[in-house]
Symmetry: C2
């Protein structure tokens, strides 16, 4: 059954690349695969392609559902589909799992062709810039010279921003949502706690746990728990859980007493079953390292000067992981150089997670922005 | 060598209690010891005693230094001493390690007289109210009928507040600093991450690690790391560490890249060597459970109605663990019932840790408040 406004059943595809990808770290990947999904149709002029970049724990599965699933499971299903802000009747939308990921693209779980064993800890460090380079190779593969738009939230927003700097002529519009031009010390600190949780888990085995038949579930669970705290606002957590007691009264125990504990444990356990620890480490380091102004003595406006895209920057009032002030840094830097930039600060109680939610004012901004993007209007072949 | 304005060399003492202490959990401690320090002299009228309550990782060692130490090591040495805000020329100051602690008072490391082995996980849950009850027994032991003041920051502030409710006639003034009337869901969430770090450390052995000759250092380290993030403001962390790179450039490694990582690891390692994991669990649960309004349908003003003390409430502008809004809840509830309350919101960049710092405006408020407290003026015997 296909629901109205759903892209329906989708099937991931895999693109294989046999030309080496040089990495920012100095290393290179001799060959690699990227798993991706597409929604909508590429028009004849190839003018309507939109790339969706995923955040820390996202994937290529942006919208719709896979065969055998009862309901839509794409992580941005409320944003992408027929009649939705990113309307698949107008746009050809691409989701791709980033290099180093654990949802099908080449990553630490993949077999290292040199050793014949999983890459594990030997998988090279990948950066936001490397991800964008790989995404550009996928665009080549799909015959897309220039994206109508690149969009992403959080770490995905950093990729959207980086697209405008690495390939200024290949992206007409960029939406940078709930993001920041670089991590703060506090941001890095939270990542460091998450990493240390994983790195010191005895089941991590220096990243080569695959060969031991275990996963560092304790570490991944803790990493996700601390992450989840930062995704929600204090108020949202208070509204949702408050001090609600699981059993109505205090039992004097380290088992679940407060509902918030149950929520965090559940989120942590679920994540530990699904996600790869090495991917988590790589992705948090990519976050830490991203700093386009670094080579410009910290001058973000100078760093962004080469961008040619029209920008939409969106932040959320209660997001304390990437607070509105961090988005405004991007806006000011763009405005300083007279770039075309729209900025929306959405009053939403849900904290950083707001960018994933179906918040009407937020979606209205996105819908209007996408509506203004011109495409050729010719149907694809 | 004794420095001016220092209480100099201090020697902890131990008081033993052989009358059982009933606990809020329903359990009881048949006997127990409390280790404490005192500074200054109790006056003849026993009118000048001030109790200092410690926070999560504090102890009885509030001021001065122990034999063999080169410099003052008391955790509130900048606050307590001759000529300091809590002036030991006027007041008789008491610091006590709380029950369940790991600095000498009876706690999980102590021998359970029934089993002949360390209490470990069998040590009973202790609450803020239990700590105050035990502190009252120490006051009896020292011949102090009524405190001139009880003071504490953070979890210590909760004890000061609870004193005014449990023993309204035994405390004339109470200073509740950087505290809250109860934890928020986010506060509990951070505690839960810390506890899960410890509880899932394979070296925890269900709390009986003493017998295995190990300590759950990984868990304690992570708990302290995540705690430290919440003690500092985002801005203070940015000011102190920013994105400073240990080696001046990115090395693509999970070793220390950013100085903030080094700081957190150092703090975590130091704490794991010194602190007891079971004490950490107990103290975070005491924080979670504290909620004087719980038995008053959440009506804090009703809960505080029985207080007779004059209050000083202090908060710090950048404290996001116990934000000024949380202190104001206490102030409003007290003012609602026409209690005597002064409130100071100190503009200080250092976050929650501000209450431990030598911030001039903060110390000026405390000095003025203590100066106004009347004591008999008669020297002790």
């Amino acid at each position: 059954m296909t629901h109205a406004r759903s892209v329906g059943i989708v099937t991931p595809r895999t693109a294989r690349f046999d030309t080496a990808l040089p990495l920012k770290s100095g290393g290179r990947l001799e060959n690699y695969e990227l798993v991706y999904e597409t929604y909508g149709e590429l028009d004849a002029a190839r003018s309507n392609a939109v790339l969706v970049c995923h955040a820390l724990s996202g994937s290529h599965h942006v919208a719709g559902r896979h065969v055998g699933e009862d309901q839509d499971s794409g992580w941005w299903n409320n944003m992408v589909g027929p009649g939705k802000p990113l309307d698949t009747r107008k746009f050809f939308v691409i989701g791709v799992n980033n290099l180093g990921g654990c949802h099908g693209s080449t990553g630490p779980r993949s077999i290292n062709p040199v050793s014949g064993r999983p890459w594990g800890a030997d998988f090279p460090f990948v950066t936001v810039e490397d991800w964008v380079d790989a995404q550009a190779k996928l665009a080549d593969h799909l015959g897309i010279g220039c994206f109508a738009a690149v969009i992403g939230g959080s770490l995905g927003g950093m990729q959207a921003l980086s697209w405008t700097l690495q390939y200024p002529d290949r992206v007409r519009h960029a939406a940078v949502i709930a993001s920041a031009p670089k991590l703060s010390a506090q941001n890095i600190a939270f990542n460091e706690v998450a990493r240390q949780s994983i790195l010191t888990d005895p089941d991590f085995h220096d990243g080569n746990f695959y060969e031991h038949g275990v996963v560092p579930a304790r570490g991944l669970r803790l990493a996700r728990m601390v992450g989840h705290i930062t995704y929600l606002s204090d108020d949202a957590m208070g509204e949702k859980f408050g001090r609600s007691l699981r059993h109505g009264k205090t039992r004097y125990s380290y088992d679940v007493e407060f509902e918030i504990e149950s929520y965090l444990r559940h989120q942590g356990d679920k994540f530990a079953r699904q996600f790869d620890a090495n991917t988590y480490l790589l992705a948090t380091r990519a976050l830490d390292y991203y700093d386009p102004a670094f080579d410009h003595d910290g001058d973000l406006a100078a760093a962004l000067a080469k961008a040619r895209a029209s920008f939409l920057v969106v932040s959320f009032s209660t997001d304390w992981r990437f607070a509105p002030a961090r988005s405004r840094e991007i806006v000011y830097a763009l405005a300083h150089d007279r770039h075309d930039v729209c900025y929306a600060e959405i009053d939403c109680p849900a904290g950083h997670d707001s960018f994933l939610l179906d918040e009407p004012r937020y979606h209205a901004v996105l819908a209007a922005w996408f509506e203004r993007i011109e495409v050729s209007g010719e149907n694809g072949e």
